[in-house]
Subunit: 387 residues, 2 copies
């Protein structure tokens, strides 16, 4: 018995996307040794799969992203998180390519995750949900790809944790990924990044409304802790230069500083806004799970500590993109990947884009990134006879 | 009626230090427009004031520092925070110099601050304590200097917020500061630094044990929130390179990752330790007050936005020190100060020390810093006839 599509593939629910349910006979085997069955993967598609099934582009989302790449988010109503990149006539052109994006396993937008109901108990998983890794996320997406009947992906792309998944895709399924565009990422999470994630997790777990992860049963939500986690993380997504340019020491009020603890500076109000809007759309436990997955990511570790071995014999064409002011996944980490790919004799081009916008640049209007992705995909599509 | 020395100057309590109480006739006038009276400044001295009263060196402490520069901390029992720098035969040689260090106003080691008893109510101040600025801290120390009968300070030095105070000292009292060594600081707090501070404050204020700042009355302490604040801040005190060198992705256990949320990585345990030990020695409200003072610091703002004007006509000799890997107060901020001093025709030398230890380098064993301070103080002492 194959997986069950919860919403028909041919007539997707434009708002809520699609979902495929894998039954007891299609368990997801996790790196932890545990299995998940039944389990669900929620996803969106844009454009049409061609007759040769050769025009599929998989987009992998970042920590707080979701499957709504190029259409409105059903909770916030805001545009898709990569509408500048994906759509008709956009660099990832949905009038040519069939774009797939799945909510990662462990996420909170319909895929199996800690906020979903555990079919074994009828209650939310909470912390009983098994920990997942980036490789588990990719393994889950590979099962979706099979369910969709796609042999090879024309391209896998994504930024940040999405880029980690891209690297894992090329390592795990070298014969089924024609090309890969990992953006603003690394082959391993650094000590500093683990440290920032741990601060966020501690902020969440310190919130008494977290209730050991069982807050859904208590009818609460650790909103304050999650907001603090988001605020701390958000600083790392920007650059000092961008913060200086956007906010500097500008005050909220023309009357000067208040000599109080309410936000005096615009940068404080901006951070508060980031924290408050985040808790409306994201599950605190999912934040714990996905940050942990990123921390655990160390691609070389699975290959005797030699990153090049992860790509040995890999036929995938790579296009790496990094940003000069990204201090979360600095260019040096992206270069490590490029060096490993070179050492593995893979085909790789590497573009470092000059911008002061920090890590978040991959989500923003960056013409050089758009031109790079568009040009690279044109070449790759031509080699595969994709119109 | 002059200020009252709570412990005799000639026989200091080696453990708890000394304190001077300023009465109702000696109010501390604050930048907020409020006044503090009576009020107390707790301090330590090391070495002996010479007959000419010309060998006094004032050390200003950083955000979480205190007056225990060169002697054991009375709560933790740990060595003074700058024992590598201050002591007999050390770069700031207490066999030559009379070293003074006061707990800043707003602090929690005996000086008037939110954790102290408000004499007007008999209860802890909590948030009724007035907000203070770096200039207020300096103003308070100037009153201590006067109470000690010292006309001119041979040198004022300190790192981080201590360095901010040094700059303020030179600007506020140009005729009474012979020399100044601001280390790893800036003439204004950046947007990014304000943002990190606000995350810490939000973590504290989100803790239900904070009780709107009145936790002393409730018999609680917002330990979890304060620990999160400390953990986030601590990351900014180090550098990515130092974290990589010290911890990398090293695990706590030889059995590999746990697939759970307990600390798997050594860097996580290290951060937890930093958070837990901090809450034993520091008051959460003081953390709010002092971070706010740093955020408010913008020396140029008091001089029409032109930093050089803060030092116009200043006779103080400056020695600026920064560290290559300090991303909290990067060299560029220190250079801004150097440029302003040059523009004001002040005497200034500037040393950037190559280290991967980040902002915390100023507290660590940095031979080039020691040699710089020692050499500079030798020259300054010679010009003043100090043996």
């Amino acid at each position: 018995m194959g997986p069950k599509f919860l919403r028909p593939l041919t007539a997707p629910d434009a708002e809520k996307g699609q979902a495929v349910q894998f039954g007891l006979d299609n368990p997801l085997t996790l790196d932890s040794g545990r299995t998940l069955a039944p389990w669900t993967l929620a996803y969106m598609t844009y454009g049409a799969l061609n007759a040769a099934r050769s025009n599929a582009v998989l987009v992998c989302h970042a920590l707080t992203g979701d499957q709504f790449v190029a259409s409105a988010h059903p909770v916030t109503g805001k545009p898709g998180w990569w509408e500048t990149m994906v759509g008709p006539g956009k660099p990832i052109d949905t009038s040519r390519f069939f774009v797939i994006c799945a909510n990662v396993v462990g996420g909170c937008m319909g895929s199996s995750g800690p906020a979903e109901i555990d079919p074994a108990t009828g209650e939310p998983y909470g912390l009983s949900f098994p920990l997942v890794t980036v490789r588990d996320m990719v393994r889950a997406q590979a099962m979706l790809r099979d369910a969709l009947g796609i042999e090879k992906l024309l391209c896998v792309t994504g930024g940040s944790m999405g880029g980690m998944q891209v690297l894992q895709w090329a390592a795990s399924y070298p014969d089924r990924v024609i090309s890969a565009i990992p953006i603003a990422c690394a082959a391993r999470h650094s000590a500093q990044n683990i440290a920032f994630h741990e601060v966020g997790r501690q902020a969440i777990m310190a919130d008494p409304d977290w209730h050991g992860g069982a807050y859904q049963l208590q009818g609460t939500q650790p909103s304050k802790g999650l907001a603090v986690a988001r605020m701390a993380a958000h600083i790392t997504y920007l650059s000092e230069a961008a913060l200086q340019r956007k906010f500097g020491r500008n005050l909220q009020s023309r009357n000067g500083i208040s000599f109080a603890f309410a936000p005096d500076f615009q940068v404080e109000s901006y951070l508060h806004h980031q924290g408050m809007t985040f808790v409306d759309r994201f599950d605190a436990n999912s934040y714990l799970y996905i940050t942990r997955a990123m921390d655990y990511f160390d691609l070389a570790a699975d290959y005797g500590g030699v990153l090049a071995e992860a790509f040995r014999g890999c036929k995938t064409r790579f296009c790496l993109i990094s940003f000069t002011s990204d201090w979360l996944f600095p260019t040096v980490e992206n270069k490590r990947v490029a060096h490993a790919l070179n050492a593995a004799a893979a085909t790789v081009s590497f573009v470092e884009i000059d911008t002061d916008r920090g890590h978040d640049a991959f989500l923003l209007d960056e013409p050089e990134m758009f031109a790079t992705v568009r040009g690279f995909l044109n070449v790759v599509a031509a080699t595969q006879g994709v119109a």
